[in-house]
Point group: C2
Chain length 96, copies 2
């Protein structure tokens, strides 16, 4: 589900125009980004939380050329699912 | 930032009552959960995407008691940050 499909789905469920949903989603993601930049987690009830983790620098070796590259440390946003979401996901029948 | 603080912040920015923001956030997370349960990713423009990954079963050994426990396979929601978010996060001055 891409951003456009998400907006369509939310517009239908909330009975609001797509432009408004788009604006609200942008305010929402901006708010999350502001918090994450300040190293705060953002929690969603019954869903999970977003938090920033620091990945250390590491040495990467190209499997063919054997050229070694130092990958600098970076900040990565991680999602931690809540127990409610974990149960909802894992209660589904396996469709493989 | 917990769920309550998120609602307050969004209510202020969108100039809407908190109850309405709360309802919208619930519709939003429900929509994400529905998609994730069907093994679809959910993408947010300029932010990132949520997707489900399957973790294989593994054997865990308690470091003190040495009791071995088989941890069953489970589904975990992961967040993959977009390049825009990566640049925004990593452009900040290091405050350590």
């Amino acid at each position: 589900m891409n951003n456009k499909e998400l907006i369509s789905s939310l517009a239908l469920k909330m009975n609001l125009p797509k432009t408004e949903i788009n604006n609200m989603l942008q305010i929402f993601t901006q708010t999350c980004i502001e918090q994450l930049k300040e190293d705060n987690t953002v929690a969603f009830q019954g869903f999970g939380s977003l938090e920033v983790r620091k990945k250390d620098e590491r040495l990467s070796v190209h499997p063919v050329t054997k050229i070694r590259t130092l990958i600098p440390p970076k900040l990565v946003v991680c999602f931690k699912q809540s127990n409610v979401l974990k149960e909802k996901l894992n209660s589904q029948p396996d469709h493989e």
